[in-house]
Structures are given as C-alpha cells and as structure tokens.
C-alpha cells in the first residue's frame, strides 16, 4: 500500500491520534494474553494452589501422558470435532445467506426491524437461553407440541435425554441465537460496496441473482475467507456455556466436549496442571489449523490473514 518505509513511518506519525487509540488494546493483550503464556509451565509441574508456582516439582510430560491415555479424552475430541464440523459446514453459511437476503429487502423499515429482532437473542446469556431451550425440549414443550400437531411424531419425546439428538440441539440452538449477530459483519461489508458497481452491472443487463453472485458475494469474499480461517482454527473449541447448560447425565456420552472434559477432570478437582496441559495441546493444534486454513485459503481464493 505504501511506496517505501520512510513513507510508512511518515504516514504513521501523521495519524498519531488515530494510531494511539490502539495502544490500550495492545496493553490489554500483552497483560492478559502474553504474560499468562509464561505460566504454561505449570503444565509440566505438579502445581498445587497452596504453594507458589516456582516451588512446585517438575514432572515432565506426566499430565500429557495422563490425558492422552484416557479414553474419555478421545471421546471428548470426537464430540468436539463432531459438533464443530456441523457448525462449520451447516452453520457457517447461514449468516452469509441471511445477510444476502436481508440486503435484497428494499423496505428499509422492515429490514431494520428484522435485523434488530434477529440479533436480540445474542444478548440473552446462555444460562437463560439454555433454560428456555430445556423447557422447549421438555415433554410438554413447544417443540414436542408443534411436531405432534404437525403429525410428525405421535408421542412426546424427551429430546435432551437421548444422546443422538445432542449435536443437533447444539447446532440448532446456536443458529437460533447467533445468526443475526454473526450476520452483522457481513451486512457491514455489504454496505461498503460501491453502488456504482451495481448500477454498471444493471446497465449491462445483469439480473438480481447475477448481481448478488458477481458483485455482492465477490466483494465480501475477503471477509468470508477471514472468518472461515478463524472458524477452522477454533474447531477444537466449543461453546462451554451452551453445552454446560444443555448436558445431563443421559446425553453426556455425546455432550462432553473438550472444554467440558477439562472442566470435569481438571478444574472440578482442582487439577490445574492437568487442565493446563490439555489446553496447551489444544492451543498448539489450533495454531496448526490456523496456518493450514490460511494456507489453503491463500491458494484457493487468494484471500488470507497473513
């Protein structure tokens, strides 16, 4: 973007007021993201909260061996990947579609109303939203009543008692709650498209579908690529609050994600070293996935984060 280094520096100082606004963010990140990394060393120690960290004995890879040889760890990996894959494949395109459809609405008032209503659920905490979901999924809940009224099932089903529904429950509830919110970034990207492009295309005889595909989608492609790369790197993460609210003893087999495993096996009994070891591995894998997705995106679409 800039011709040479001297130009960049000059440019930087000319905008110093704007540039200085990023300083608190950098300070925040340094304090809360970089400094804590040092304490990853407790993954290799037998750290107990009662003693200072540096006095704890080194135990090497003991905790890593512990979880790698635990069948429940592998089960949690399977569950996390299962839920994340559904969310990535079926969930990722939904906000994009929603943003595109919303963009085609000509009535501004209606558009704004739909947009506002759709992102409101985002502001409800999962503890509450999860409780609502549980009621909906219960024996006398809306979902059972609706499906019975439609004749799709003949008796009430306790949806959250059967493990086979769990991944789909997380997917649907997440989509319901977050679609509107996730669409905001795409709507913003769409708003930044030069209207001249549409006018030119219209003159050239492009219909609405063609304009949507060749202008809107192509223009927001970098945004899609970046969010996709980030989504792939987050594939070993899961929505802890959501799963914590919806899980129970009966669906645990399919519900225990990596985060919940760390919570159940580590934090509940105060095994901080163990939890850190699992998190450590997860972060390394996530970093690898980030590079992989970035590389793939660069090759395939030409858009990438770095």
């Amino acid at each position: 973007m800039f011709q040479n280094k001297a130009g960049t520096v000059k440019h930087f100082f000319r905008q110093w007021q704007l540039q200085s606004m990023v300083v608190p963010g950098i300070v925040w990140m340094f304090i809360f993201c970089y400094i804590p990394m040092f304490w990853l060393i407790i993954a290799f120690m037998d750290y107990s909260i009662a003693k200072p960290v540096l006095e704890s004995p080194f135990v090497g890879f003991k905790h890593f061996e512990d979880f790698l040889s635990d069948d429940r760890f592998w089960r949690s990996i399977r569950n996390t990947l299962g839920m994340s894959t559904i969310k990535l494949v079926l969930g990722f395109p939904i906000p994009i579609l929603f943003a595109l459809l919303l963009n085609e609405i000509r009535n501004i008032r209606f558009k704004r109303t739909v947009q506002t209503i759709s992102y409101l659920p985002h502001f409800i905490a999962w503890t509450i939203f999860g409780g609502i979901m549980l009621n909906w999924l219960g024996e006398g809940g809306v979902i059972n009543q609706l499906l019975m009224w439609l004749g799709l099932q003949d008796r009430e089903i306790l949806y959250n008692s059967d493990p086979k529904y769990f991944w789909w429950i997380t997917y649907f509830s997440d989509t319901l709650k977050e679609t509107g919110w996730s669409a905001i970034i795409y709507i913003a990207a769409i708003a930044g498209i030069d209207p001249g492009l549409y006018e030119a295309a219209e003159l050239d005889g492009a219909n609405r579908w063609q304009r949507m595909w060749h202008i809107t989608v192509q223009s927001i492609r970098p945004t899609i690529a970046i969010l996709f790369i980030l989504a792939v790197s987050g594939i070993l993460g899961s929505n802890f609050e959501q799963i914590f609210m919806l899980k129970n003893n009966m669906n645990m087999r399919m519900a225990e994600s990596l985060d919940l495993y760390i919570y159940n096996m580590g934090l509940v009994s105060g095994r901080h070293s163990f939890s850190t070891a699992v998190l450590f591995v997860r972060s390394i894998v996530a970093l690898g996935l980030l590079f992989l997705a970035n590389y793939a995106s660069k090759k395939l679409t030409g858009d990438s984060i770095f």
Partner: protein, 557 residues
C-alpha cells in the same frame, strides 16, 4: 484550525478517561479498605497498651472495642440471598459490636471462586465454605487462614470457653491447630439425648393420590411397580398436565446412589471393613426394579435430565407422585400446597423402598463435620476484630442475637424462656422471605448456627412439616454420621481415581435404568465394575478405610 484542536482535545480526553478507568480498576480493591483502617489502628494501639489487663478468658473481648469496622464475609453458597445491614437484626448486631459485615456470595461454584481468590492472594476477611469442599483443605494447608486457637490466645481467650471443645477437637489438624468452626455440627451424644438428629432424607408421596390409591405398599419391588401401574392407569394427569411418577433429588450421585442405599439400610461397614455399597444385592434389585418400571413405561427419565427450574416447576405444581427428597427442601412448598385450592396435595413421608429383610431406612443424621465451616483469612486487616466477632457469634449471646434478634422487638421472655414474638412465628410459617429480609432473625444468618443452642428457641413447626421431620428423625441412624463423606477429595491420586469413577457412574446409572432387558443391565454393570478397577478403585477403598479408622480413633478420644 479549530477543528483540529477539537479533535486533538477529544483524543486527549479519551486517552485520559481510559487511563483513569484502568487505574480505577487496579486501585479499587485497595481503596475500599482505607477508610476502615483508621479506627481499627487506633483500636489496636489502645488495646495494645492495656492488653494484659484487658484480656480476660471469662469475659468476651468484643466489648473492648466497638468502633466501626468493615468485615467482608464470603458465604460459599451461590443461592444465599441475604445481605447485611438492611434487616433489623443485622443493624442491631452492627450497632452493638461495631462490626459492619459485607456479605459476598460466589457467582458460580464456591469452590472455584475461592480457588481463584487464593491464586490472587486476596481473600475476604471471613470465609464460610461447605466442609466437604476441596478448597477448604487448600485454605488450611496453604496457610491462607489463621489458626483460630492462635488468634484466640492473642486477642480473645474467651473463644475457648464458647467454642465447643468437641468440635474444636474434631477439626484439629495434625499440627495441633484448628482453622474453622462448623455450623450445624451434631455429636452422637447430643442426638441421643435430644432426639433431634438433623436427618433430612425422606421418601415422600403426594398425600391425596397416595390415600386415594389406598395407601399402597411401596417397600417391596412388587408393591412399588403395582402402585406405579395404578398411577399410570388412573391418575396419569393432574390439572391437565402429565404426572411425573418419580423424582430423586441430586440426580445419580446422591438421590439414586447414597440416598437410595440409606433407604435400603445398606450397611456402611462389614466386619470392620468399609463395605462396597454399590454392589449390594438389595441395591441392585431396586435398580432393576427401576429398569422394569422404565421398560413398562411406568416412569420416565425426566428425573435424570430435568434442570433445577423444571424440577421446581413440577414440585410447585405438585406434579410428582413419589420423591426421594430431603424434607428440608420442601419446607416452603408443603405449606404452600396445603394452603392451595387442593389442600391435600402436599407431600407426606412414608416408608419407601426397603431391603429384602424389610428393615426400616437408616438415614444419615447430622454429623460432627457439620455443614459449613467458617474461617478467618490472613488477608484480613483486622484479625483481632474478626476473632472477637466470631467468638461473639458462636457464644450463647451471639447465637441468641442471631436467631432471636433484639429483645422486645422480635422476641420476649415468656415464663423465663426467650420466645419469638407471635407475629414473627406467623411470618416464619407463612412468609419466610419477608421474615428474613426485613427482620433477619431465625435462620437468616446460619453461617455459625449451633443447633444445640438455637433449637431450644425454635417455635413448633407447622404440622405438614413436622410430619416429615418426625419421620426422618425416627429413621435416623444416629451413629452413622461417621460414615459420611469418606471418599477422597482434592487432587491426590486416589481423589482423581474417585472423581473418574463417580463421574462414570453418573453416566452408567441412566444406562442401567434404560437398559432393554436384565441381561443388558448385568452386562453394563459388569463392565462398569471392571472399568472402576482400571481407574484405580483399590486406592479409593484404601483411602476410605484409612479415613474411617482415623475418625474412629478421634471419636474414641
């Protein structure tokens, strides 16, 4: 020019605001305490000079210094709804002692909350935590709390006079120090003497349905299944909604395991060895009964999956038929149901599942561990005020102030005996919420409640509650308190093994109940037992045995 100036000043202003807010964040913790330092420092110097003369082991030391002081008090129960300083009683106590308490409750799990605080090295002045929580042990071992005996020697020897010697001894650690005072601690002698056992595990049924069905026998598997069948055939709906035939409090680990085993009177110990209760034939028989009931569609698995809110809703609408549930949890609902349009829809305690010998239940009574323990953290700036306040609270005078409130306002002496005023008793029966919020007497501040002292002032309970309580008292196995909580806790190898086993059991039990036939049931149970061995059950057994032996030795002292 003017615009750039505007922009510039805006930026500076913004940066300034940001700096301030960051600074405010880091400092606020310290700021809070500064004003309170002043008077106490004075107090310290005052007492310092006269200490030798003033400290009298027969005289409470809180009277020496009643200057205002703030103490933060962490109550390790996220559901604890009360604050200090609004209710009449808390104002009275603050005025009397000069201590203004600021109650803090965890937003999530108490254990995690206090662990986080430990890492940060800043703890509230007073800490009340469940005696079973792993964090309690860490507080003691990590030297985060004061040894109460040392503090008492230094500032208030009256403490030794009022803190029951038995309980102090019970919580004494190997280094000779005691770090916490329990509440609701019951010694077997006391229970034998008074018949008040604090047992709260009951088997409840809805009175009207149970009586309409002809008070069926629920103690044998056959009777149990027949009653459920009858319920399904004739009473499957209540107020237009389906009846939930069965509920077990605390889900798998509590209601369906320990609690059910107590109802079946399964022994804790055989020939001096800790007994593996989960493999007991009677227990297995009953789990199979639940499986049969599920297979026949007589019970649903809602009791294994419902959230607390769903359970509460069903309870409040009397939609359960049978419940394995602590009666204390029903003390608000039962009077409400008895006062509703259907006054017989409340719950009564009856004989529930019994073992093949027909023995009556052997319920856990209260025990020496008590419920929660209260400690004084080393972060406190006012250790002498904290120990004096604590001594006051556990003394008879403090117990009376906490439970009864201010004489003449909330209680009177009738026939030489303190009694809550009739309007207080009225509120206790009908509107506990108002009583606790406005007056703050009775069980509002239970953090150091001593049942030996306060039970003498308790008014007679409403009959719908008393029935359940009496039933539980009659079935309490007074000497079994010693078996409660033998399992290893914390992050030792045995504890990790136990947490893996018990978490696995939570998943296995639902599988057992939903197993398609008895053969499948047996197979799932067998595979659980072998998995349990793989997780290190031997270590758990060893720990339980050692713990039991140690307790017996302590009791014998």
């Amino acid at each position: 020019m003017k615009r750039t100036f505007m922009k510039l000043s805006m930026t500076i202003a913004l940066a300034f605001v940001l700096t301030i807010s960051i600074a405010a964040c880091t400092n606020s913790g310290n700021n809070e305490n500064t004003p309170t330092n002043q008077p106490t420092n004075n107090g310290q110097t005052n007492t310092g000079t006269t200490e030798e003369a003033a400290l009298n082991p027969d005289e409470p030391a809180w009277k020496l210094d009643t200057s205002p002081v703030d103490l933060t008090w962490f109550v390790g129960a996220n559901w604890y709804p009360h604050s200090w300083g609004e209710s009449l009683n808390s104002k009275y106590i603050s005025e009397k002692t000069g201590v203004n308490v600021k109650i803090e409750v965890p937003s999530g799990e108490a254990n995690e909350h206090i662990t986080l605080m430990m890492t940060s090295g800043k703890l509230p002045d007073l800490i009340t935590m469940g005696s079973w929580e792993t964090a309690v042990k860490k507080l003691w071992e990590g030297d985060h709390v004061y040894a109460l005996n040392e503090l008492a020697e230094q500032y208030d020897p009256y403490f030794f006079k009022v803190a029951g010697d038995g309980t102090l001894k019970w919580y004494r650690q190997e280094n000779g120090n005691t770090y916490g005072v329990p509440n609701d601690s019951y010694s077997p002698n006391l229970m034998h003497e008074t018949g008040m056992t604090a047992a709260n595990q009951t088997f409840l049924v809805r009175k009207d349905l149970y009586e309409e069905m002809g008070s069926p026998d629920l103690t044998t598997p056959e009777g149990f299944l027949n009653a459920l069948q009858l319920l399904k055939d004739q009473y499957s709906e209540y107020k237009g909604q389906p009846i939930s035939p069965f509920f077990a409090q605390g889900n798998v680990p509590y209601g369906m395991t320990e609690y059910l085993q107590n109802l079946l009177a399964i022994p804790h110990e055989k020939d001096g060895k800790v007994y593996d209760r989960i493999t007991d034939p009677d227990y297995i028989t009953w789990l199979k009964t639940f499986r049969t009931a599920y297979e026949r569609g007589l019970i649903n698995v809602d009791f294994l999956v419902d959230s607390d809110t769903q359970v509460e809703e069903k309870t409040n609408n009397a939609r359960y038929f049978m419940m394995v549930r602590e009666w204390t949890g029903m003390s608000a609902v039962n009077p409400m149901l008895a006062a509703s349009a259907n006054p017989d829809s409340y719950y009564i305690a009856v004989d529930g599942p019994q073992n093949s010998n027909g023995d009556s239940a052997k319920l856990f009574p209260g025990n020496m561990d008590g419920w929660m323990v209260t400690m004084i953290s080393k972060s406190t700036k006012n250790p002498e005020r904290a120990i004096r306040f604590l001594t006051y609270l556990v003394s008879e005078e403090g117990q009376r102030d906490l439970f009864l409130g201010k004489e003449g306002e909330t209680w009177d002496t009738v026939d030489g005996k303190p009694q809550l005023k009739p309007e207080m008793v009225q509120l206790l029966e009908n509107d506990i919420e108002k009583l606790e919020k406005e007056y703050g007497v009775a069980d509002t501040y239970w953090m150091v409640r001593n049942p030996v002292i306060v039970n003498q002032w308790r008014p007679e309970k409403a009959p719908v509650i008393k029935q359940m309580e009496d039933f539980a008292n009659a079935q309490a196995d007074i000497d079994s308190g010693i078996y409660k909580g033998l399992d290893p806790l914390g992050d030792s190898e045995a504890a990790v093994a136990w947490s893996r086993i018990s978490q696995n059991w939570e998943e296995v039990l639902p599988e057992l109940i939903t197993a398609k036939d008895e053969a499948a049931f047996d197979k799932i149970f067998e595979s659980f037992l072998s998995r349990r061995d793989g997780y290190g059950f031997a270590q758990v057994v060893e720990h339980r045995q050692a713990e039991l032996d140690a307790r017996k030795a302590k009791m014998a002292e």
